[in-house]
Symmetry: D3
């Protein structure tokens, strides 16, 4: 089920058979000369909705959390970022809303490496409410990057033995090419494989990575490779949700 | 253009010919027995993307701000809400990101009445930075509810002379029916027209409005009426953006 | 009773017969060439204290919340403003203090249009505590602008068929003229009726409205008209408090 | 001048001859069986307005900051308190508003001992903006308790050699008796002089100080003593403002 | 016991015999030409650990809170400061952690005058949670400056009849000389006794107090005087903890 | 140099030859039946001070940030934790203080895995100030866990081929054994190697890990192994600081 296309009564029914939900979460930020600004929230949305569409499992997909922590990309037009403190507050409110309805397992399917620290900090901020109060929380939060889903990293390394890099990667661009073929963009990449380096603030970032890529050659992406990644990731996500849903929370 | 399907370089180009952007903003909340949980963010997204699709104007549509201020709906499963303070912080970060790129006119196309106060408070919070610092802000923010777009309220009143109400209205449900025909839901509404009353916190709300509707008969909605509303709203939005874009900001 | 001239024991007694209180709330901000900086907090204070003085009802008037959200007026000396976030926090603490004593109906009698959004956002922030916790709040908050009290808007339109405008209006200035005759100021207004336009940040505001008025001709104000407004508003406030006090909060 | 009864143009003129303002600040909290809930904000307001009324100096009195830090009094009905964090934020916004207009010396005339720590913390919070930014602030903030004004403590000790205590003191009650003779309340105090002890949270406070007084015998208060205190305090305040206004801020 | 050199099981045992803990708290800030940057957190740490080492009482010493509120010293390299709001939040988290384990008496042994207001504001912020909720807190917080411990001020005045001053005082410098003889620094002080004046922001501070001292002659310090101060302070601290630990909290 | 044993003038001199500082950062939390509560802040303090003591490089060691993000350990007495939001605010103030003095490279030598996400979130929060403002930050922040220093992980794996685990590890316990031989504690561990599992809130943590260890056998620790780890880590830290200090920040 897609939560946003369901009624409240349908969710009430769903909660009688499952307490698990997946929230696609990403970022809206520059992805090099040809990557879409939405890449990082589109990828987990595409994968989660594909997992739901295949109907091999009874999966509930929440709305997409589309703006993440991308302060370092603000030097490139179109990037929209939350500060970590805002991001943490917002993840908290999403979580408290869902927990209030009875959800006990919330899996955030993440599409942006830059989100990881702030999402984990958000989890700790939420858990701390129970920890400081000396009471049991009764729910579990999980962060799962789509590229860490079972088998997905291996496939990407097989598809792109060189030039994968860490930002504006051919794997993420392939996924959006498959999902949005009309929005495929082309460019001459110079250098073919982008430089690497530390990630700090936006000015520093743009000086180091003038076209926005880090260590990647997005020219290797094809819609077909994207399709293979999505299908594998969707299956692995279904398994991940199943095992997360079965996990016991200590009484 | 849809920002999320564009590259940063395309936005850089866009900024040379326009400084205006529209952000669909709504809420993910119960909409009665048959309304979709996503109704309030889907409606402005549908209208803004339709306005862009028609290509009668050079419009840039940003990502959809899909979770708003819906604390009063938290008594119904599936509702996700930000507290006003979180909502204000997040609108601030979206705005500062866009203003940093050179946008000077940001129109929030809103789909949720419960958002209005917090969006306006957010605007004041952002403007206050310049006002307290004694400097010119150099940008303008505008809140526009889709039902207040030129002619739209009149059309809705004509389509639904009775039973329109103020929550889970036939007009908003008609719009989602047109956009998502596969997700049309049916129910027997009892009473046919829902009660009205004050809006306070979630427990109070559910006690007053047991099935979630306020003053409305969603059974009056049809996809055809939805289509008419979307087409009119899209045209009016294009005009609104044009006139907002032309407006001078005092030096 | 005036809360600030009562003892705690008198309030303890009052709570045995009523759970309702009115808090005058306004702003301290420029009101054009002749309006008092305190106009927006003086007007609701004057009306609420008049309602109490007439002793036709058992009314409790709290201290006046005198600094509101007036960031757009900061370009004019003497304006003091809270940011919306501070305003929301402060209204929250006032409310939690009063609710802790057993008050169940808190009516904020407001004197400043610029406060409305932030007051409503504050209400939602407070209600959200109960809504997120899944519990009944047990109290109700109401915002009532003095010019919206039964009959008051009609009287003002009758008194000032043209030149009422929306800031530094003759009706609010008339009220302060009646209450503070020694502080009546005169000026030649040029133009007689001030311009109108959107309200944004302080620099923008001062550029659009050089003497501080919006759409008004304060020269129409007289103490006599002020007296009529106050007497009518005081009676309507007493009725409003009575009906608000009788309203049932769902169990 | 009273700021709230002035126009913005009058304040603009005042700023050409002085950069100093006094803000009465207090608290709305229980003051024992006979003390007014408003005592702590009324006393500095009475003194500051008296200093202004005597016209021996060109004094500008701002609006009264009437709700302070009184968490420990919340066990008694009628008390309204800000948390320290809210109080600090609000003092910050008041100060930034005034500094933005050109005020360079802001004296907070305080009427509540429980405010002192939070007011000083607020000053540090405001100063820290300049200190962290490595720039000159260009303004000075001063906290002055009315009972610390030149000669006032001596007079109070002379008037009340025993039974002055530290809360609901005869000196503060005498001042409100002089200003509001119609609101003088009587009671049999038992014990005559209230106990003393540490101040912690509200439950602890009410257990230690059942009628709200600390170490005081308010029965010693008379309007005549109040008048003497006000007249002396008003003169001392005028001197204090004069010397504070003359103080040089290092370039 | 030193908490940081204990195991959790040892603390669990300690809590069966005592509910009292002392937290040394100070600041890391300039202390004139010869004072150590750590002076203000070293002094209470030295005294508390000495009290524990002497084993005349069963004392538990927590980790040292080493960064305090020192915004006014930021004009001198090496100073590290929290803003009051951060300081208050951090003291709150320390306290809530300890209270959660069952500690009922937390004594903050303070080494920095500039911390006092913010520590007391922090206490009120923490207490306010119980006060607003209308419940008993069940614990007590105490601020004790080391120079206010029984007899210590008298000894310091005896040791340094002139030139003690209020910042970079010979007494605090003597204590660090005794504890860190290898880090004793020498300088020619000009003037011998530093000037005094108000404390505001960092720029103002450095202009008034060019070498960082206020009213003091640190050249009077000797390790021997430091030892005497520490020994007396340690004994007085043990007594203070004992009497604080015995104090009853009202039911 | 140790900053806390230096004067401001010595730091002013240091800044003429270096812009780099190392801040030991950790946590005060339970470390199983025999580990010290201070383990996680003592380890980086020990290593950093050893690096400084060896005088092979001109290193400046700041005060130790001793309380970190340990909400999951709050179920064990003696743990003191900041919430992530407080931790982020505090790291921000430390950093802004140091940057204000001219430090351009701040290396946080971390001793607690649970700190990592929040420290990185803190860096982003600080960098975001420059990124949102569209200006160059001019400084770089680096997080370095002591076990990730060149060669250290390899040595630990060699010393403890099994039973190293991830909390209350023999390597960290060995380090504190070497530094505090008088505080070595013994216990029978049952099971010998502790279980592993996910880390969530405090109640969940204590249920999964009853004696506080995760996957470790602290009985393998010896002071000699600790000494080897410290000496290697100290040398690697000196190299790390040197290369970090030489790194160019883009203009």
């Amino acid at each position: 089920m897609l939560l946003h296309l369901s009624t409240w009564a349908e969710i009430e029914q769903f909660l009688k058979r499952s307490r698990t939900i997946v929230i696609p979460i990403g970022s809206n930020e520059q992805h090099g000369p040809t990557g879409l600004l939405g890449t990082d929230w589109l990828c987990p949305e595409i994968i989660a909705r594909e997992a739901e569409r295949e109907k091999t499992a009874d999966i509930l997909v929440g709305p997409t959390f589309n703006i993440g922590m991308a302060q370092h990309h603000l030097g490139f037009p179109g990037t929209i970022s939350l500060r970590p403190s805002t991001f943490i507050a917002a993840i908290g409110d999403w979580t408290r809303s869902l927990v209030g309805h009875g959800f006990e397992k919330i899996l955030f399917l993440n599409g942006h490496g830059g989100n990881i620290a702030s999402i984990e900090a958000a989890f700790s901020e939420i858990y701390a409410e129970a920890s400081f109060a000396g009471r049991r929380a009764g729910f579990a939060l999980k962060l799962c990057n789509w590229w860490d889903l079972e088998g997905v990293g291996e496939l990407a390394r097989e598809q792109f033995p060189t030039g994968h890099g860490s930002h504006a990667t051919p794997s993420e661009i392939a996924i959006t090419q498959w999902a949005f073929p009309a929005a495929i963009k082309l460019a001459d990449y110079a250098p073919k494989i982008a430089p690497s380096g530390p990630i700090r603030e936006a000015h520093d970032f743009r000086a180091r990575f003038p076209d926005g890529r880090i260590g990647s050659d997005p020219g290797l992406a094809t819609p077909e490779k994207g399709e293979a990644l999505v299908r594998l990731a969707a299956r692995s996500l279904a398994q991940e949700l199943d095992s997360f849903g079965r996990e016991l929370i200590p009484a």
